[in-house]
């Protein structure tokens, strides 16, 4: 799990969790080993190494950064130009095995005309090879799970955008796959529905599934994700837990910490003496500081010491840029802008 700057060649990504080198294929990870995809002369993704664990993983990046390509490679819908991919040990060119364990929700609104929500799910389950009785049971389970029971026998063509999004989610998970690949699943959902769907993702992940999501909505990425993969121009520029990724960037982008205390002036005088502190800014109400530091650990040690010695009394301490939005801005923001 790591972050890197983008370079013309393969970006070096130092390991955070101690795993050196490319990921090895295992039956409990989704692994990409030196994977590239070129569409003719157009780059899709380049030299990607990943090992995605269970939980919710969000792909973040501007339009054209390679998120959908990564998902399509995972689902075997496009073949890599080089490199190897395994989904829990299964190659994407083994559809009979792969799609028993994987469900995909595309970003397109593409429904066969004249079908009801129930028929839509039922037909696709039959394509999976399930018999009538089992299909019927699983369709109702999935429909109930996405809260569409009332609308199940209405035509999909008459559904609202949010309802279509939910029925698409239902079709991706109705055959009870272990891996869910969801391209922009929150698009078009109102805040209430978003909250419900996010809760559903959490439930699915809590059961041990792999939920891979692409999203443009950065403030929700923090809430949803166990880990993120940040992409730009076909390169993975960061992967892992947001805090770990942010921690790797302290040299280039000093960490910002908001401190509210009784004596901010005294605190400012103390922190200015530290060589790792880059900048200190006083709040407008003069009751707090925004400290930029290249070494968060040493800064927190200092803060702890000052409190224990009674130099200051703390009201609150919070990282100001340890979220997906800040990391995205630092790594991609200048060239992306889609978020």
């Amino acid at each position: 799990m790591s972050a890197s700057g983008k370079t013309g060649d393969r970006p070096p990504r130092p390991s955070v969790d101690g795993a050196a080198g490319p990921p090895s294929f295992s039956s409990d990870r989704i692994t990409f080993e030196d994977v590239s995809k070129f569409y003719g002369e157009v780059l899709g993704i380049n030299r990607v190494d990943l090992a995605i664990p269970p939980g919710i993983t969000t792909l973040v990046g501007p339009n054209g950064s390679g998120k959908t390509t990564l998902m399509n490679l995972m689902t075997g819908l496009v073949q890599p130009s080089r490199g190897r991919i395994r989904v829990l040990g299964v190659a994407p060119d083994e559809p009979e095995r792969l799609f028993r364990m994987l469900g995909y929700c595309t970003q397109f609104d593409s429904f066969p005309r004249a079908l009801t929500g129930y028929q839509f799910l039922y037909s696709y389950l039959r394509l999976h090879g399930l018999a009538h009785k089992e299909s019927d049971r699983l369709v109702w389970e999935a429909i109930e799970r996405v809260g569409m029971t009332e609308a199940a026998h209405r035509r999909v063509a008459a559904y609202s955008k949010g309802m279509r999004q939910r029925i698409k989610l239902a079709q991706a998970m109705c055959h009870q796959p272990q891996v869910l690949v969801l391209d922009e699943p929150l698009n078009g959902l109102d805040p209430m529905a978003r909250a419900e769907v996010i809760e559903l993702f959490r439930e699915l992940a809590a059961g041990g599934r792999y939920v891979i999501i692409s999203s443009h909505i950065l403030h929700e990425v923090d809430k949803i994700s166990d880990q993120v993969i940040m992409l730009t121009s076909g390169y993975v520029v960061a992967e892992g837990q947001i805090q770990a990724v942010r921690g790797e960037m302290h040299q280039d982008y000093p960490m910002q910490v908001l401190v509210r205390c009784d004596l901010p002036g005294r605190l400012a005088a103390q922190v200015f003496e530290q060589d790792h502190v880059v900048e200190v800014r006083m709040h407008a109400d003069r009751k707090g500081l925004l400290v930029s530091t290249r070494d968060g650990e040493r800064f927190y040690d200092l803060l702890q010491r000052l409190v224990l010695e009674g130099v200051i009394s703390l009201e609150s301490v919070a990282p100001a840029d340890e979220d997906a939005h800040s990391v995205y801005e630092y790594l991609i923001g200048g060239e992306g802008g889609a978020a």
């Binding site: 569409y39 003719g40 157009v42 664990p53 269970p54 939980g55 399509n72 689902t75 819908l77 496009v78 559809p95 009979e96 792969l98 799609f99 028993r100 364990m101 994987l102 469900g103 995909y104 595309t106 397109f108 609104d109 593409s110 429904f111 066969p112 005309r113 004249a114 079908l115 028929q119 037909s123 696709y124 039959r126 394509l127 999976h128 090879g129 399930l130 018999a131 089992e134 699983l138 079709q171 055959h175 009870q176 796959p177 272990q178 699915l204 992940a205 809590a206 059961g207 041990g208 599934r209 166990d226 880990q227 837990q241």
Partner: protein, 287 residues
């Protein structure tokens, strides 16, 4: 990172045989077809000519009816290769129109809406998808071509006796093979055009164009160059040449059955290449 406990239960029940899954697509399509009153009416119309043929066969063998209607037996159409060739030619025309209604919309809407990934993210291949879509036409067209054709043959054989059946068995194989050649030609062409232009009405117009414009162009070549080689691009003449061979009826298309088979095989290969290129989950668009 959160600690996850594997609590979900994957489906581990029985599965239907892989070969039968393409029929799910046909079932889905028939739901739409039979929602259309126009198409139901048209399918009923398609049965009129086989019914007339059955009446003609019946009349030839019913002395009472011949006497009652004072029919000159010599003027009744003989039940031979030409009879079944005409039957197939008429039913083939009806099959063409039915294909023009249904075929162009089979793939185009999925491709235009990006719907292919929905099918292909199952244990379901591109070939099965095409087969599923084509089976919609294969089954419907069978019901208006070789199935009633073989029933007519059986009817005639029943009235004529075993000797006629043995002598004319080639007619039954002609009906069956001739129908399938036509059905495959229509199915492949309509699906390939549907995948190529991704627009139902344009694909429908192109289907007419392939048959009639190519026939006109072929006729122009024949006229200008004083040859009959122009018939090589006339699909109707190609199929007529093959049918005439199957029913042992001489026709003057200027083509040998071998040439017609080769030209038709070339068209099939072109259609399959087009389908292979276009029916993909994601199409690469080069700017």
């Amino acid at each position: 990172m959160a600690v996850y406990k594997r609590t979900y239960q994957p489906y581990q029940g029985p599965l239907t045989p892989g070969w039968s899954r393409f029929l799910v697509i046909a079932r889905q399509a028939y739901r739409r077809v039979f929602d259309s009153r126009f198409l139901i009416l048209y399918l009923a119309l398609c049965m009129i000519w086989p019914a007339i043929c059955a009446v003609l066969i019946y009349l030839r063998h019913n002395a009472g009816a011949i006497a009652m209607f004072k029919i000159d037996v010599a003027r009744l159409i003989p039940i031979d290769g030409m009879f079944f060739l005409r039957y197939l030619a008429w039913q083939g025309s009806m099959a063409f129109l039915l294909t023009a209604f249904i075929g162009p919309g089979l793939i185009s809407s999925d491709l235009r809406n990006g719907g292919l990934p929905l099918y292909l993210c199952r244990p379901f291949s591109r070939a099965e998808y095409v087969l599923g879509k084509m089976s919609v036409l294969l089954i419907l067209l069978s019901f208006i071509t070789w199935i009633p054709g073989l029933l007519l043959f059986g009817f005639e054989a029943n009235l004529e006796g075993a000797a006629w059946f043995r002598e004319n068995l080639f007619l039954a194989s002609g009906i069956f093979l001739g129908s399938w050649i036509w059905i495959l030609t229509l199915g492949l062409l309509s699906l390939a055009l549907s995948a190529w232009v991704k627009w139902k009405f344009v694909a429908g117009a192109l289907l007419f164009g392939v048959f009639f414009a190519a026939a006109g162009f072929g006729a122009a070549i024949n006229e200008v160059l004083h040859t009959q080689s122009g018939n090589m691009i006339n699909l109707g003449e190609l199929v007529r040449t093959i049918w005439s061979g199957l029913f042992r009826v001489p026709v003057s298309t200027g083509l040998t059955p071998e040439n017609a088979w080769m030209a038709l095989a070339g068209i099939y290969v072109l259609c399959l290449l087009l389908l292979d290129r276009k029916v993909r989950a994601f199409e690469v668009v080069r700017s």
